[in-house]
C-alpha cells in the first residue's frame, strides 16, 4: 500500500519560527518558506539590502559622532588659549561647558542618533550666528573647518533619520538588525 505524504511543519531559515503545514509564508518574518526559489531569493535580496542600508546609515552616523568629538576638542583648546591670552573667565566657562554639551550629544548619538545629531547641528549653527553677531570677522576664521563640521552634521542627521526609519521597518517585520 502506498504511503500518503502529509505536509509537515517547516522551520523558517530566517527566524526559525515553525510554520504550520500548508502555509506558504512564515507568519513571523514573512519568509516564503513554501515559495519558489525565485521568491526566496527575492526575499533574501530585500533582507540583505535593508541590513546593508542600515550599516551604511550607521557608518554615516558614526562619522557625525566623531565630528562631535573633534569639535569638542577644538572648542576646548580654542577657549583655553583665549583664557590664557585674554584672562577671560567667560572663555573658560564656555570652553568647559560647550565641549561637555557636545560630548554628551556625541555619546547620546549612539542611542538616539537623529535627535542627538539634530540638536548638535542646531546648537552649532546657532553658535556660528551668535559669534558672527559678537564679531562679524569671526565668520571667516576657520571657515573651512566650520563648513566641514556643518556638512558632516547635516549628512549625519540624514543618516540618523534613515537609520531610525530602517530600524522601525526591521522591527515591524521581526527582521534582525
Amino acid at each position: 500500500m502506498e504511503e500518503v505524504a502529509f505536509p509537515t511543519a517547516v522551520d523558517c531559515k530566517i527566524c526559525h519560527n515553525i510554520t504550520e503545514p500548508g502555509n506558504k509564508f512564515c507568519s513571523y518574518c514573512g519568509y516564503p518558506v513554501g515559495g519558489t526559489e525565485y521568491e526566496q531569493n527575492e526575499f533574501d535580496f530585500e533582507y540583505e539590502t535593508k541590513r546593508y542600508q542600515l550599516n551604511n546609515a550607521r557608518a554615516i552616523v558614526k562619522s557625525g559622532t566623531n565630528t562631535l568629538y573633534v569639535l569638542s576638542g577644538l572648542i576646548f583648546l580654542g577657549n583655553l588659549v583665549l583664557y590664557f591670552v585674554k584672562d577671560d573667565v567667560g572663555s573658560l566657562i564656555v570652553g568647559i561647558l560647550l565641549p561637555l554639551i557636545f560630548l554628551g550629544l556625541a555619546y547620546w548619538s549612539k542611542q538616539k542618533p537623529f535627535t542627538a545629531l539634530l540638536s548638535a547641528l542646531l546648537l552649532y549653527a546657532s553658535l556660528l550666528v551668535i559669534s558672527a553677531f559678537a564679531d562679524p570677522m569671526s565668520i571667516l576664521s576657520g571657515i573651512i573647518v566650520k563648513i566641514i563640521v556643518i556638512g558632516a552634521l547635516v549628512k549625519a542627521v540624514r543618516g540618523g533619520r534613515e537609520a531610525q526609519d530602517i530600524i522601525k521597518e526591521l522591527n515591524a517585520r521581526n527582521w534582525n538588525q
Binding site: 507568519s27 514573512g30 539634530l118 540638536s119
Partner: protein, 255 residues
C-alpha cells in the same frame, strides 16, 4: 427547561490583502505574505519641507534677538516693543499655517485645576531657586547683577508694562512658537519624542545663554511633555507666566 447557551462566535483576524486567516501572533499573512501593519515612513520631501520651515522660523527669531542685544536703541522699551510685535506677528504667521491644530491647543475643556495649580507652584519654586543661583553666579563670577527692570523703569506705567513684557508676552508667544508651531512641525515628521526634545533644545538655545540651558531645557521639556500629554498649551503658559512673573517680583523686591 434549562437555558440553551448561545454559541460564542470567535472572530479570527483576517489578512488585509487576501482575506485569509491569520495566526494570532504573526505579523505576516501565511497565505500571501503581506505585512499586516506596515510602518508609515515619512517621505524625504515632507521632512525637508518641515525642516526648512522650522529653520526659517527659528533663525529669523534668533537673528532678531541678537540684533536687539547688539543695538543700544533697543535698551529703551519704546523701541523694544516693536521687536516684540514683530516676533509675535512672525509666530502668528507660522501658527496660522496650522490654524486648526493651534486653536485646539487653547481649548479649556478637560483642564485640571489641580494640575494648573501644581504647574504654577512648581514654576514659582523653580524660579526662586534659579534666580537665587543665577544671581549668586553672576555676582561671584562676572561681578554684575542681572537686570531686566532698567529697560522699563522710566516708563509711565512701568510695573504693568514690565510684567506684560517679561511674564505675559513670553507665556503667550513663546509657548505658541515652541510648544505650538515647532512641536507640531517636528511631530509630523519625526514623532512626539523628537518633537518634545528638539522643541525644548531650540527653546533653550534661543535664549542665548549657555549657562541658562541648564534650567531652560528641563523647563521646556516639562512644558512640551504637558503639551503632548494633555494636548493643550495652558499648562505650559501657566508655568511660563509664573516662572517669569516670579523673576519680576524678586527683582522688584530686591530694589
Amino acid at each position: 427547561m434549562e437555558p440553551v447557551e448561545e454559541p460564542v462566535e470567535v472572530v479570527l483576524p483576517v489578512c488585509v490583502t487576501c482575506g485569509g486567516n491569520l495566526s494570532v501572533s504573526g505579523r505576516f499573512c501565511p497565505h500571501c505574505g503581506a505585512l499586516q501593519a506596515p510602518v508609515a515612513v515619512v517621505g524625504e520631501d515632507l521632512f525637508e519641507h518641515n525642516a526648512r520651515v522650522l529653520a526659517l522660523f527659528y533663525f529669523v527669531i534668533l537673528i532678531v534677538c541678537l540684533a536687539v542685544a547688539k543695538i543700544d536703541a533697543f535698551a529703551d522699551y519704546t523701541n523694544l516693543v516693536f521687536v516684540e510685535g514683530f516676533i509675535a506677528i512672525w509666530t502668528l504667521v507660522f501658527a496660522f499655517t496650522r490654524i486648526k491644530e493651534m486653536i485646539s491647543l487653547y481649548s479649556l475643556k478637560n483642564l485640571k485645576p489641580l494640575l494648573l495649580l501644581a504647574c504654577a507652584g512648581g514654576a514659582m519654586v523653580a524660579s526662586i531657586i534659579v534666580s537665587t543661583a543665577t544671581n549668586w553666579f553672576n555676582l561671584h563670577v562676572f561681578d554684575k547683577e542681572l537686570d531686566y527692570w532698567s529697560t522699563y523703569e522710566n516708563l509711565e506705567y512701568a510695573v504693568p508694562v514690565f510684567f506684560a513684557s517679561v511674564a505675559f508676552y513670553p507665556a503667550i508667544i513663546e509657548e505658541l512658537g515652541f510648544r505650538g508651531v515647532f512641536y507640531s512641525y517636528m511631530n509630523e515628521v519625526s514623532g512626539r519624542r523628537n518633537a518634545i526634545i528638539l522643541s525644548s533644545v531650540a527653546f533653550g538655545i534661543l535664549h542665548v545663554s549657555l549657562v541658562a540651558l541648564i534650567w531652560l531645557v528641563p523647563f521646556a521639556l516639562v512644558a512640551a511633555y504637558l503639551r503632548f500629554r494633555y494636548n493643550t498649551l495652558w499648562y505650559g503658559m501657566v508655568m511660563h507666566f509664573c516662572f517669569n512673573a516670579t523673576v519680576c517680583i524678586l527683582e522688584l523686591l530686591g530694589r
